[in-house]
Every structure is written in structure tokens, then in C-alpha cells.
């Protein structure tokens, strides 16, 4: 078991290294650096000015060297200008001139500086991850029970009318990507001119102009039903259908097993069979799927956070990508890789735990 964990963690590190290198290479192409310079120091700069800016800010050294600096295996760049002021990567990060010439990369725990947000990457990301953590928590709280209930109800009696109806709902939900459902939900619930809100206002059922807010910015300070419902629903709906279908498939399979038939023949009530005998076995597959679903939900998180301007991890990723914020983007991809691989690990370990027939060799 320990060896297995070690190997997985080793694989994780290698994957992260490869990924960050790819991201680094793609964000450090000359054209991308030019974009960065222009967003940082003035959009209408001339080419000569751009070169000077890149030179002054440590972007002129070869790409591999800078990747080494970012990793912390090479000392950060240092530059002394005519006036004798020393500038450099570590000087800026640690805020002391003595740091010049030291190594300051992720190996030393320095995640770098975000050019978009003008703050340390670690600081920015930890705040945003917290916000996304809350969002994901609510998504899972809404999505998982809903999906399991739909899946179990549908899978209990395969081919029944309930099954057909619920399966269609599940399929429809997987066929509605976040950017469609988000748009529909806003039109339906968060507009004071169309949809439900004007009706509810005219009936006197709600006080404000709209039922739910179409913007989740205020959720940063205070999460309320009104500002968090739509982003949570948008993500949960799309993920729900898939998990429900897996649960259904798993449930129908379990329901045809020998021991269920035996139990029925013994005269155990149907409800009892489902709860006592079928559920545990039927939930193994959905568990692994839910775990694997978490990184997949990241897509939805980006769309939903951008759509509802909720500054979480997805929104940060989007902003970093649009503004070519190199170090923030790198740190984000490290986080993404860790999330993907850790959830894979949990899903494997959990699978073993739930299914005593399998042992990890």
C-alpha cells in the first residue's frame, strides 16, 4: 500500500513537472511576452520599448533558464541599473536587496508574482481556492444526493415508466452544458423583465425586483440563497445527469444479481432489499465516478464563475489565461494537476475500501 502511494506521488510529480514545462513554454513564446509587456506597461508601446521592458524585467534570458528560476534550481535573475539600484526576481519576491543571487522558486516555496493581480501568487490562489471550495461544496451537496436519488429510483425497476422519465431527465441534463443552462437560468429566474421574476413581483411573492441574483460577486462576502443558487445549480445540473446514469446502470446490474433474487424469494420487502442489500454494492461505481467528476467539474467551474463573475479558482484561471499571467497560470496548472491526480488516488483507494474483493498488488 505504502509503495503504491509512493509510486503514485512520484508519478504525480513527474506529471506536474511535464505539464508546467508545457505551460511555461506556451506562455513564454515571444508573441505572448510582447502581449505581457503591453498589458503591463502600456498598450501602445513601440517594439523597442517592449524589448527594453522585457530586458529590464528579467524576461530576456533563455526560456530554459527562466524555467529553472521558476523551479528554484537556478538563482533568480539580478540586474543592476546605472543608478546602482539592484532589481531581480528574488529582490521583488522577498522585498530585500540582499536576496539578489539567491534561488527563489517553488522548491523554496516561492510561487512567484501575479502580474494581473499585482500580488503574490500564493496569496491570490489561496484566497480564490477558498472561494471555489465553498462553491464546490455546495455543488456536491446539491448534486450528489440528487443524482443518487434519481439514479437509484430509475435503476430499481428497469424499464418502468419512472425509469424512462428519470433517465430522460438525466440525459437532458447531460445534454445541457453550463453555458446554456446558466443563460437559461438567468433569463428564467434573474431578470426583472422576462421569466418568472416579473410574475412573482406582480403577485407580491418577492420583495426585490428578481427572485435570484444573476451575479454572484456579493457571495464573496456573504453567501445567501439569492446570490449563490444560480451558480451552484448551473454546475450541479450538468454533472448530475452523468452520475445519475452511472448510478442507474450500477443499480440495474445489482438488482439482477443472484442474492437479490434470493432475498426476494425469501419474501423480504422490496424497500428493504433496496436499502439493505442493493445500495452498498450499487454505490461503488458512482463513488469512483463522483471522485473522477471533481476535476471534470473544473470546466463548469470556469464557465460558471466567469458567467456569474464569482472570483474563485476558475475565474482566476480565466483571468490569468486572458492576461498571460505566467506565474499564476503555472501555479494554477499545478493545482489542477494535483486535484486531478489526488481525486484519482482517492477514487482508487476508496474503490478498494468499498469493494473487499479487490486488493492492490
Amino acid at each position: 500500500m505504502l509503495l503504491f502511494l509512493f509510486r503514485r506521488i512520484g508519478l504525480m510529480l513527474v506529471t506536474a513537472l511535464c505539464l508546467t514545462f508545457i505551460v511555461f513554454a506556451l506562455t513564454n513564446m515571444p508573441a505572448k511576452l510582447e502581449t505581457l509587456a503591453k498589458t503591463q506597461a502600456g498598450s501602445r508601446m513601440t517594439d523597442a520599448e517592449v524589448d527594453r521592458w522585457l530586458e529590464r524585467n528579467g524576461y530576456a534570458s533563455p526560456m530554459l533558464v527562466r524555467y529553472g528560476e521558476w523551479l528554484g534550481v537556478l538563482p533568480g535573475w539580478v540586474r543592476t541599473d546605472d543608478g546602482g539600484t539592484v532589481t531581480g526576481r528574488c529582490v521583488a519576491l522577498r522585498d530585500t536587496p540582499e536576496a539578489a543571487g539567491e534561488r527563489c522558486g517553488i522548491l523554496q516555496g516561492d510561487w512567484g508574482f501575479s502580474t494581473r493581480f499585482r500580488a503574490g501568487v500564493a496569496e491570490v490562489l489561496s484566497a480564490r481556492l477558498g472561494a471555489t471550495g465553498l462553491l464546490m461544496m455546495w455543488v456536491l451537496i446539491v448534486m450528489v444526493p440528487m443524482a443518487l436519488i434519481v439514479g437509484i429510483l430509475a435503476g430499481m425497476r428497469e424499464g418502468s415508466r419512472t425509469d424512462r422519465a428519470l433517465s430522460t431527465v438525466a440525459i437532458a441534463s447531460t445534454a445541457t452544458p453550463e453555458y446554456v443552462s446558466g443563460v437559461l437560468l438567468i433569463a428564467l429566474l434573474a431578470s426583472s423583465t422576462v421569466g418568472l421574476s416579473p410574475l412573482l413581483v406582480s403577485w407580491g411573492w418577492i420583495d426585490g425586483p428578481v427572485l435570484f441574483q444573476g451575479n454572484a460577486r456579493s457571495a464573496l462576502e456573504d453567501i445567501t440563497l439569492s446570490n449563490f443558487t444560480l451558480p451552484v445549480l448551473t454546475i450541479a445540473l450538468y454533472g448530475m445527469g452523468y452520475v445519475a446514469r452511472i448510478t442507474r446502470a450500477s443499480m440495474t446490474e445489482v438488482m439482477t444479481q443472484q442474492y437479490i433474487r434470493t432475498a426476494r424469494l425469501k419474501g423480504v420487502s422490496f424497500g428493504k432489499i433496496v436499502v439493505k442489500h442493493a445500495l452498498r454494492n450499487a454505490l461503488i461505481a458512482p463513488f469512483t465516478v463522483i471522485m473522477l467528476q471533481i476535476p471534470w467539474l473544473l470546466n463548469g467551474v470556469v464557465i460558471s464563475e466567469v458567467l456569474f463573475s464569482y472570483p474563485g479558482f476558475g475565474w482566476t484561471l480565466y483571468e490569468a489565461a486572458v492576461n498571460n499571467d505566467i506565474e499564476l497560470l503555472l501555479a494554477s496548472s499545478v493545482v489542477a494537476v494535483v486535484v486531478v491526480l489526488v481525486t484519482q488516488l482517492i477514487s482508487d483507494v476508496g474503490y478498494v475500501y468499498l469493494n473487499p474483493r479487490i486488493r492492490i498488488s
Partner: protein, 386 residues
């Protein structure tokens, strides 16, 4: 002129869609008549879900095919006075144009109905093609990985997991940026990705007709010639005839979508191969002395077709969603393109007052993906019944 009522709008839309109805009725009549002779396709017509799904998919396919006859206006032309016009509005000065905007006008005074129809063509031109290339790549790499296992498998699986560990959106932002288009990266990637299908078909035929050199040379020769022609056009935009061409923008989108999809297909194929290679008929072929490629392509692959066809349908749907995501972030194909993702994104801005320009493509996209999912479900049920 008075604006049309909803009933008139629906009647006129139905009238515009006449060629689609005719084609649908013909397809269904012929298919149901001969369904016993049509294998898995025929069996589809035993399942209600499958028939509904197939109907929706074919509806959009025919809309895309007959788009030129269905549209009422040019999907790009703007008519003065029709900005955000409500569905059924009459043109101010129709002259020789169709006198109504059946589903209204968008924020640039273009006909929403015609854009939806042309959008179907746009979407159905890219999504199935991209899914197909992804499949060929997944199969070409997945079969040997599963069959030979060992170092090859470890290496390829690592690469696939590497791509899958990327958040899709980050990958899109990195790969579909305008700066990347100017670098050789998309061309090189396209060069590699498009080479695989040619390789796949060549090996497929070579393995089959290995014992009949004359036939083999002919088939392989034809494939190589057509392949090289298409390859030149698609990758280097240098097709002398001009039949195969792709704008750098589209190529970039295409490459990114294939790149995201192929690893998943690879994993599925590899899994199935691992399972099937232990079967008796594979062992029988091995004792017969067949080459590994023959076994993979002509013994294992046909037996894996059930789950692959199902996944193929789902993947077209997923690719459609991915293309929409690209459009949503403004990374999509050409900006005026009527493809549904971009139109949803454009219509979103005025959603709360003029919902129709965003709702029409949103519902279209939903229905197409729903149709593909239902079709996949039907196919799965019927193929399991074997």
C-alpha cells in the same frame, strides 16, 4: 405589414423545412421496411429511445445538408431596421427578400432563423469530423498499447494521462490563442494528428490484403494518394485543386478539439483491447500465425465496435459542447460564424430583454446533443441485446 402570430411562424418554419421532412420520411420508411437486413442500424428501429434520438440527429443532419434551401436570408447580411426584431417581424422594405424574420433579428439585424440553420451546418461540419479523427488516433494508439502492453503501454498511457490532467479550458486558452496561430505549433500538431488516420487506413488495408499484393497495392495506393491530397490541403493549405482547405483559425480549433478528445478514446480502446485479447478467437488467430496488426484490426477491433459506436455518438455531442465552450470564451472559429456557441455568447449580452437570439441556438444545441445521447442509449441497449 403586421408581425406574424406564433401559429403562422411555426407554419412558415415547417414550410421552409419541407425538404427536411421529405428526407426524414424517406429515411424512416426505407429503414423500417428493410430493418431486418440492416444489422445494428436496423435494430435501432426496435427501440423507441433510439428512434427518437436518431430522428433528432437526422433532422439536424438534413437541416445542415439542405441549409441552402431552408434559409430565408443570408446568414451574414444585415437588414436596416431589424435589430433585435421580435420573432415574426416583417421587413421594412422586403424588395426581393423573404418578407419576414421568422425567429426575429439579432443585435446586428441578422435573421436568427437563418443563422440557426447555417449554424447547424457549421457545427455538423466540424464535430463529427473531429470526433472521427480523435477515434482513429485513439484506435491506432490504443490497440497496440493494449495488445503489446509493456513499455509502449506505459509510455502512451503516461502521455494520455498527461493531456487528461490538463484542465480543458486551460488547454484551449493556450492552444487557440491568436499568438499560437502565428507559430508553427498548430501546423506541426495537425501534421502529426492528420498523419495518423492515413497511417491507420494504410495499415488496416495492408494487414487485410497482405496475401494479395496486387489488390493491396491498388487499395493502399488509392488511400495514400487521396490521403496525401487531403493532407496537403488541410495541413499546409496547399491543395492544388482547392477542395481541401482549412483556415488557420479553424485548423487551430480543430487540432485543439482532437487533442483533447483523443486520449479519452485511447483509454477506452486500450481497456477493451486488454479485455478482448484474452479471448479464445484471438488465441486461435495467433496460433494460425496471423500478424499482430491483422489480429488487432481485424479480430479485436470488430469485436469492440459496440461500445465504440456508442461512445462515438456521445463524443460528437461532447465535441459540439466543446466547440460551444470555445465560442463562449470568444476563442471559436471566425467571429461572424453562425455556429451555435458563438451565437449563444453574442446573444447572452441582451438576454434579459431580447431572449430570442440566444435561446434559439441554445435550444438547438441542447436538442442535438440530447438526440445524440438518446441515439447512443438506443444503440447501447440494442447492442447489449445480442
Amino acid at each position: 405589414m403586421e408581425p406574424l402570430s406564433w401559429f403562422e411562424i411555426l407554419a412558415r418554419i415547417a414550410q421552409q423545412l419541407l425538404p427536411v421532412w421529405v428526407a426524414l420520411v424517406l429515411t424512416y420508411a426505407l429503414s423500417i421496411r428493410f430493418k431486418r437486413r440492416l444489422g445494428l442500424y436496423g435494430k435501432l428501429f426496435d427501440s423507441t429511445v433510439g428512434m427518437i434520438g436518431f430522428g433528432i440527429v437526422m433532422f439536424w443532419l438534413f437541416v445542415a445538408l439542405f441549409a441552402n434551401f431552408v434559409v430565408t436570408h443570408d446568414s451574414l447580411s444585415q437588414v436596416s431596421g431589424m435589430r433585435n426584431a421580435v420573432p415574426g417581424s416583417a421587413l421594412r422594405d422586403p424588395r426581393d427578400l423573404y418578407p419576414y424574420y421568422l425567429l426575429g433579428g439579432d443585435s446586428l439585424a441578422r435573421d436568427v432563423f437563418s443563422r440557426m440553420v447555417m449554424g447547424a451546418r457549421e457545427v455538423l461540419r466540424i464535430a463529427p469530423f473531429a470526433a472521427m479523427i480523435s477515434f482513429m488516433i485513439g484506435i491506432t494508439l490504443g490497440l497496440p498499447a493494449g495488445y503489446f502492453a509493456g513499455k509502449l503501454d506505459t509510455g502512451l498511457t503516461f502521455l494520455a494521462n498527461l493531456v487528461l490532467a490538463f484542465p480543458v479550458i486551460l488547454l484551449f486558452f493556450l492552444l487557440v490563442a491568436p499568438e499560437i496561430q502565428e507559430t508553427p505549433i498548430p501546423r506541426v500538431m495537425a501534421g502529426i494528428l492528420f498523419l495518423v488516420p492515413i497511417l491507420f487506413v494504410t495499415v488496416l488495408l495492408n494487414a487485410r490484403f497482405f496475401t494479395q499484393p496486387a489488390k493491396r497495392n491498388l487499395y493502399v495506393g488509392i488511400v495514400l494518394a487521396v490521403g496525401a491530397w487531403a493532407y496537403l490541403g488541410l495541413v499546409f493549405n496547399a491543395d492544388p485543386v482547392g477542395l481541401w482547405s482549412m483556415s488557420p483559425n479553424l485548423l487551430n480549433v480543430f487540432v485543439a478539439v482532437v487533442f483533447v478528445n483523443a486520449p479519452t478514446v485511447f483509454r477506452i480502446v486500450r481497456g477493451i483491447t486488454l479485455d478482448i485479447k484474452t479471448r479464445d478467437y484471438v488465441a486461435a488467430a495467433q496460433t494460425r500465425g496471423e500478424g499482430p496488426w491483422y489480429i488487432m484490426l481485424w479480430e479485436i477491433l470488430p469485436n469492440a465496435r459496440g461500445p465504440l459506436i456508442v461512445d462515438f455518438c456521445l463524443r460528437i455531442g461532447y465535441t459540439t459542447i466543446l466547440l460551444g465552450t470555445l465560442g463562449f470564451f470568444g476563442l471559436g472559429v471566425s467571429p461572424e460564424s453562425p455556429d451555435w456557441g458563438s451565437t449563444i455568447n453574442a446573444g447572452r449580452r441582451l438576454l434579459t430583454v431580447y431572449p430570442h437570439p440566444a435561446l434559439v441556438p441554445a435550444l438547438s444545441l441542447m436538442s442535438l446533443v440530447l438526440g445524440l445521447n438518446l441515439l447512443a442509449d438506443g444503440l447501447r441497449e440494442e447492442s447489449l441485446r445480442d
